[in-house]
């Protein structure tokens, strides 16, 4: 299958529409610059991508190398549990950190989020453990 050339990409309706929508967004960003503070905004906009590409992904690669040390039969469940744990940990981070708690409003972030996160991680690793046990039993049944 021939990959589309430059002309087809640049002048496709998708590209034109998409650029138009993006331009509208940039226009609005500067129109409301008192609120959006483009100088600060851009740091977070670009920074997020850079942190992922230069920090998060290499860490994932590093952990992946460690997983290679685990016995082959268990690598799948361990990988799955690690991936899930990391994502849930990232998502729960603002709540566990409790940065938004205010003394005048106890109804904001009322739970013990560290405990909650531990419960969720326990569930993830329990499932991984069950998966490993299942693989072990399957292996035993197939053994000569």
């Amino acid at each position: 299958m021939r990959k589309p050339g430059a002309k087809q990409f640049v002048f496709s309706p998708w590209t034109i529409a998409g650029i138009g929508i993006m331009a509208f967004g940039v226009f609005g960003l500067f129109l409301d610059s008192a609120d959006t503070r483009p100088d600060r905004w851009v740091r977070w906009f670009v920074g997020g991508a850079l942190v992922h590409d230069l920090i998060v992904a290499p860490i994932v690669i590093g952990v992946g190398l460690l997983v290679a040390l685990v016995p082959r039969r268990f690598q799948g469940p361990v990988q799955g549990a690690l991936i899930s744990s990391a994502i849930v940990g990232i998502t729960a981070f603002p709540f566990v950190g409790g940065f938004g708690r205010r003394s005048d409003n106890p109804s904001a972030l009322p739970n013990d989020y560290a405990a909650g996160l531990l419960w969720v991680l326990a569930v993830i690793w329990a499932v991984a453990g069950a998966w490993i046990l299942w693989r072990l039993r399957k292996g035993r049944r197939q053994a000569p």
Partner: protein, 383 residues
């Protein structure tokens, strides 16, 4: 060795990324899933923005009473569910960040450049959205406006991306896409997709209880609980935070109705209590994705407008004792002003309104965003 091949070190080396999980098929499926979730978030987010800052032609209805609550619950739940999908997608395409040579031709260059607003925007939307529902604001901009315009930029970049990938995506869906079949040591390609989906489900189950009452007990990671707060439901802006603790409790409090009316009114709290009261069960629905129902009791806004001899189909500005802040006032269009359940509430859940819920008078109406259910109301200006 050619000079450009000499530069090809580290992650730029050919075959540097050996994991089978960097699969084009996975990228296509995750991309489709994200296309759906981001579109849902975009439309529900646009709606919320349009309700709060309506263009002249837009008239938001007052019924069904729970529609706003549903759309914002969906907005936040979909955003949270997108986090595992986005992280998984970024992993499948990560080797492209280090592709060599960096610029092969014009099309290649343009496509690479268009990925910056897509990746940056997607991460920005989910990251700021997540921090916002945790009431965490480590940046120096106003979240609602910055999140709104970044949403347009991200969706625009997504549209460009769809155009670039539509051919290969079609091939993956109809099975004609060829990919090297590799048996990975650990997680299989399908397993990877399964983990991403399962994590989305897990995050949803542990957070959606903040708006979906039947799952509230599972909401261990939910930043709000619908049953936690004074009088049994949550608060966003407290009386202390709004600096109304003295003015709200002042004996000389009067609810004033003025503007385009035949008979301006100035009513004390006792006058208001003596008027016929009406009950309504209505939700408070925050744009942050939580909601809680309560039984409100108070005076119908439309009764008050009749008493003041306001015109038919009026627009009403509702003002709070809160002196500063963007949400110190809200507007009732004629549909909301005329709805029988749009109340100036004096009591909730059988008790006099708590000061954090807007004592002495709070506006509450069907199908309204939480920020527009103005608290500590002291003036209605009819237009």
């Amino acid at each position: 060795m050619r000079w450009d091949e000499r530069l090809r070190i580290g992650p730029f080396r050919q075959g540097a990324f050996s994991s089978a999980l960097h699969s084009e098929r996975n990228a296509a499926w995750l991309g489709m899933a994200l296309g759906i979730t981001f579109s849902v978030c975009f439309l529900t987010g646009l709606l919320s923005h349009g309700i709060q800052q309506p263009p002249s032609w837009f008239v938001w209805t007052s019924r069904p009473a729970g529609l706003y609550r549903l759309t914002q619950g969906i907005h936040v739940a979909t955003g949270l569910a997108s986090i595992p999908l986005l992280l998984a997608k970024l992993w499948t395409v990560y080797p492209h960040f280090w592709s060599w040579p960096p610029l092969r031709n014009v099309a290649h260059g343009l496509e690479r450049i268009s990925l910056l607003p897509l990746v940056g925007g997607s991460i920005f939307m989910l990251m700021t959205g997540l921090a916002n529902i945790g009431l965490w604001y480590p940046w120096g901009f106003f979240f609602p406006t910055a999140h709104f315009w970044a949403g347009w930029i991200t969706i625009g970049a997504l549209v460009v991306h769809v155009g670039a990938k539509i051919t290969i995506t079609r091939a993956v869906v109809n099975g004609s896409h060829e990919e090297e079949d590799v048996e990975p040591a650990g997680l299989s390609r399908r397993g990877f997709l399964g983990i991403a989906a399962a994590t989305s489900g897990l995050i949803t189950l542990t957070t959606v209880g903040q708006t979906f009452r039947p799952l509230s007990r599972l909401g261990v990671l939910a930043p709000r609980r619908p049953d936690v707060g004074p009088q049994g439901f949550p608060v966003n802006k407290s009386a202390v935070g709004a600096r109304v603790t003295e003015t709200a409790r002042d004996e000389r409090f009067r609810l004033v109705v003025e503007g385009n009316v035949g008979e301006p009114l100035s009513l004390s709290l006792d006058d208001l209590r003596a008027m016929p009261q009406h009950d309504a069960v209505l939700p408070i629905a925050c744009v942050e994705g939580w909601s809680a129902e309560a039984r409100w009791s108070g005076i119908r806004v439309r009764d008050l407008l009749v008493m003041a001899r306001a015109p038919e189909q009026p627009t009403v500005a509702v003002e709070s004792l809160q002196l500063s802040g963007r949400y110190r006032a809200s507007e009732l269009n004629h549909l909301h002003a005329g709805d029988p359940d749009t109340l100036l509430a004096l009591r909730v859940n059988g008790e006099t309104l708590h000061i954090d819920h807007g004592y002495p008078v709070r506006l509450i109406g069907p199908n309204r965003p939480g920020v527009l259910q103005t608290k500590w109301v002291h003036k209605l200006v009819v237009q």
